[in-house]
Assembly symmetry: C2
Homo-oligomer: 218 residues x 2
């Protein structure tokens, strides 16, 4: 009752005990079901009962690891954020310079935003707008993630705009644009139109966001 330690302190380099492994596996299982529910049912319908059924675990298992619904969704968001940094930190195949901007944007769309996890993240962000308790749990992490994402871009690209932080500005715009596409889907009857929007947008950003040669990277 004292404190529901959702994440054990792993700073000391203990080997993970069997109990830790079991806990981590259970949490991962619950979070995976949470992502599916958020994507397919939305935040409001992502209830304990739904996740319980989808994950095939008991009610007690969920409430033990995540005392409130907001805590569960927050944990889900952190999991998604951790995975979402992949494309930004990826280097081009020849590693001599960063990935071309068009390829970067295309992959960010196809593999991150336009996936079950990406759509789940949109649900969480929308919920953050009105659920103060959820936002309180996530605010710091979202800001940290944003800073990390911008720093990664600054390391590998430069912007052609006036401001010195133009590269991260352009990348913030790109993330924002791709996220919006999840909702624009409802306006168009032809899904291919979204791909055209991505392509046209990538063409615009491509002229502004220039890959830095590897030797110029800090």
């Amino acid at each position: 009752m004292e404190k529901p330690v959702t994440w054990r302190n792993m700073s000391d380099n203990d080997k993970p005990t069997p109990q830790d492994q079991r806990s981590k596996a259970m949490q991962a299982r619950i979070i995976r079901a949470s992502i599916t529910c958020l994507d397919r049912l939305g935040y409001a319908e992502t209830t304990f009962a739904r996740i319980q059924a989808k994950a095939g675990v008991s009610r007690g298992a969920i409430t033990h690891h995540f005392p409130t619904r907001q805590a569960l969704v927050a944990a889900t968001a952190m999991e998604l954020l951790a995975k979402a940094l992949g494309p930004v930190e990826r280097r081009a195949a020849n590693a001599d310079q960063p990935e071309p901007v068009r390829a970067l944007i295309t992959r960010a769309w196809g593999q991150v935003v336009n996936s079950a996890g990406g759509r789940a993240m949109v649900e969480i962000l929308v919920a953050c707008r009105t659920d103060k308790e959820l936002y309180h749990l996530l605010e710091q992490r979202l800001h940290d993630w944003d800073a990390q994402s911008r720093a990664s871009i600054n390391r590998a690209y430069r912007g052609s705009g006036a401001d010195p932080d133009d590269a991260e500005l352009l990348w913030s715009m790109t993330r924002n644009f791709l996220r919006g596409l999840v909702l624009h889907d409802k306006f168009v009857s032809d899904p291919a139109y979204l791909a055209r929007m991505v392509d046209r947008f990538a063409g615009l950003i491509e002229t502004q966001l220039i890959p830095l040669p590897a030797k110029d990277m800090p």
Copy 2:
């Protein structure tokens, strides 16, 4: 009990009867409260009880005009969509040619998307993703509105891209970008960053979307 005729047939040019006026006023009052609730509480917390309290009307009044929650939100969406076409169809002050693109985008952001109605619309679009009943009520209207919005842009601007429908593609991208900003707010600590994103984006679109002289308009 037969059919809850929410909208009376006004195709014939009768003068609106007192009862119609009263109905319309009540519906507007409920919808106004619905917009406020959607903006401040989100779709999930926009309940009959909340709207009832905010609008100061009885439960029966709401259920009489809107038999289900989805019907109420759908009516709210139609109201918002009707208002949202304003900036697109507006002409420049001198009327010799359409409004400059930068001014158009700035106004679309400040007066449409980044307003209580704009944020409410984002909530509705997100809800459409997972609420099939709501989406069924709105799908056709959303597609029609999309076509109307694109047609308005095509009438007053031309795109500099390869495709003949480049203008409407660029405008779809702009709408999508501005909508996403409502959520990007949660990532940044400084709200002014959103304004910078709008400005940078407007600068990009400005080079691609060219106002047509009035004489060239159909």
